[in-house]
Homo-oligomer: 221 residues x 2
Amino acid sequence: MQEKADAVSGERAPRRRRRPEEAERAILAAARSFLEERPFREMTVERVMVRTGLSRPAFYAYFRDRYDLVTRLLEGIGGLLFAVDWRWLSGDASGGPEATSEVLIDAVRRGSETFVQYGPVLRAIADAADQDPRVEEVYRYGLIERFAGAVAARVSRDVAAGLSPAYLDPEETARALVFMTERYLLDVFGRPADSPSSERTEAVFDALEKVWVRTLYGSVD
Amino acid sequence: MQEKADAVSGERAPRRRRRPEEAERAILAAARSFLEERPFREMTVERVMVRTGLSRPAFYAYFRDRYDLVTRLLEGIGGLLFAVDWRWLSGDASGGPEATSEVLIDAVRRGSETFVQYGPVLRAIADAADQDPRVEEVYRYGLIERFAGAVAARVSRDVAAGLSPAYLDPEETARALVFMTERYLLDVFGRPADSPSSERTEAVFDALEKVWVRTLYGSVD
DNA sequence: TTCTTTGTTGACGTGATGTCAATAGACACA
DNA sequence: TGTGTCTATTGACATCACGTCAACAAAGAA
């Protein structure tokens, strides 16, 4: 079956050659573009590589498997989420209740916007996380749990300062709020090729903000 | 390679024959027992069937594939979650704030206990849901969204009654709280062969309860 | 016993994976 | 411009899980 196509057509697909990291970037870009259109469950190595013009085996020169691929996609985004919420995470109640609520609200909205931007990729990583132990490690423990830890520290300070009620368990409350935020945002913004209206987006941000503020600081009138 | 083993040993594994639904129950039980030990990602048709004494192809006489299998596992549990929370879901604020909070607290705890009992199975279904569109349909839309809808209706009534603040969007708030509860409980109780201490269990129930009550009804002092 | 029903399985084709030896661009140097 | 080296790239292979189907054999009927 292996015909020498060029013997007839005189033409063979020219085999280009790129620099290693150029190829790697091309693969990462192809994966991102794929995930903008289709869910992770449909992402095969084959389907990603056709978008690069390289052959499927070439993939394995740069990535161990598709889980390794999404892990590296996460690297570019993970830091952002922390950076974005830094003001609230690292702060304390010194500005008083109103100012504190406001900083929290700002943090929730900025964090949410990161999800809006990278929704499909984050969704893919979350999906991959419960199919592969390595991704689970990086995402669930390296990112989500670490984030929950930072939130817990903040809650702990607010409880100590009397800003939040003492009956709140910082660790567990933080986890609950972080899980809520993650899943809700993934649900709304993580679907390929289906971005919600700006009204919906606003309503979602608003709902999240209310739950955070009312849970931690009480009323938000 | 296909040796006639009995020609030598004189013995062949006797091929038992069961009633259809007896076999089906055996497969469902095997799947449950598998999921008590290992995560869904490791569940292959082969590995389930060895626990039944039947061959792998026999599986396909009863189930279309492993996603069909977990879907049927869900059937037995789905109804429970609704039944358990019925008092709060279908109620209104007629008993006054304290009574209402108490009914909610009871609902959250009873619902959570269902997760404690069926954690690994529910976790498997949730995992399967983002690997297969049919499971997604049944779980995400048939169960979670439907549940969120019932919660939204209740929140809506509480807002109308002035028990919850008018700035809460019933639909979105309900979704946020339901997602939180689902993911948090799956995280804690969904891991095969690793059940948390009773202290942890208590702290988790408590944190969930606090977020629900403070969000919907304000302070819980 | 013989017949019929149907639960059960061996064997096959398929799709995706990950590896490896062999191939052929790109660049350095003469 | 020609020659050689390096290494990016790939065709072909072995593997694994899947889903199907024709053929087999156990249980109940006649």
